[in-house]
Symmetry: C2
Subunit: 223 residues, 2 copies
């Protein structure tokens, strides 16, 4: 039985898409939301899509108590507040997988532009905000929420992973490998998230131009 995964922001498009795909792969999913009712509704919806899937819904702080792996898929606007609220509950057992992208849309700017984050990236901001001993890995920025949610769609792209500890990245890679058509690529230390987070607005720009749902693949890697 795979370790359970908590998705903070699991009622949003990306979080819900990941919940569906991971749930279908047999991973027990705890959907976290600020609002317990919304979390439970999302879990119900997920169960409707994946009969037999193990989905539950809780308020964020309660949700992360039942999983060591915590995927953070909240809008950049809410990242800091969410982490502040989670602080008392986050402990050394947790590995936070941050998928936040500092889109300028957070301040009514364009979704093809980003904001400068003082720490370098949203992931580094997360690392600064979590309690000592909690590790942060950055991943899942470039996979389209719509394609994840469309369970008929066969994915065929990479998940770019940044983090400071090899073991943490290996754990995330193991999770990614459960999802058909996705491959984890180790992009280096967490500071490289400042580059990977920029891929989302670029893909949005390509999407708009070509009316597609683009993703990223790294060429030249050994199969």
């Amino acid at each position: 039985m795979p370790d359970p995964v908590c998705i903070v922001g699991g009622t949003g498009a990306l979080g819900f898409g990941l919940a569906l795909r991971l749930g279908r792969a047999g991973v027990p999913i705890v959907i976290g939301s600020r609002d317990t009712t919304r979390a439970q509704e999302a879990a119900d919806r997920a169960r409707g899509r994946i009969p037999g899937g193990d989905f539950s819904g809780h308020e964020n702080s309660g949700a992360i108590q039942s999983a060591e792996l915590v995927i953070l898929t909240v809008p950049f606007r809410s990242q800091s507040e969410t982490l502040t609220n989670l602080k008392p509950t986050l402990g050394e057992e947790h590995l936070v997988i941050d998928a936040t992208v500092p889109l300028a849309a957070a301040v009514s700017g364009k979704a093809t532009r980003t904001l400068g984050v003082w720490q370098g990236s949203a992931a580094q901001q997360a690392q600064e905000m979590v309690p000592e001993g909690v590790r942060v890995v950055s991943a899942f920025h470039t996979v389209s929420a719509a394609l994840l949610t469309d369970l008929e769609h066969e994915l065929d792209e990479d998940v770019l992973v940044c983090g400071n500890r090899r073991e943490d990245k290996a754990r995330v890679a193991e999770l990614v490998d459960r999802l058909d058509g996705l491959r984890a690529v180790d992009c280096g230390p967490l500071e490289m998230a400042r580059i990977v987070e920029q891929f989302t607005p670029l893909l949005i720009s390509i999407n708009v131009r070509n009316k597609v749902r683009a993703g990223i693949k790294i060429t030249g890697l050994h199969p």
Copy 2:
């Protein structure tokens, strides 16, 4: 007969690799260098690799007088000086294809990090520096110089193109399409170069980790 292409910085690794591949595809190549002798030596070397290829070598200013398409493949350290020197010779007929990446290596920093460029990107710096009426398109940042130079290697990756005019990007795409295994992807206006230029340090980070020559491919596009 395709239009000739001038490669300013064609004695460097990326410029020479592009010269070889384009020359093999039948494009007349003018290699530009600050030093005429080095430019001519590079043209001789290219002719040795591609018998029958149309290669010549000139000092930069002379070189760009024989081609409307100018690919700029100089280190970031030299970009500004090179453009200042080219200014009197650049005219409205020219389309500058900038491949400059502001790697921190320019100031003895890491090749997995970049410098902040006041204008947003090296390409936007180039656009600010060229005379009124000269258009700049950004491209060719993510293709490995070593793989271009290894003519046995079958390329299979994308060239991410940013620019403000659709016609200019179409002209660059036409050039890219001459190269087997490369596909041009329109990434939006020139300002998106600030994102695309970051891909090079990320690929360098992936290369170091995996002992490969990685490239980028955008998934989900119509074939």
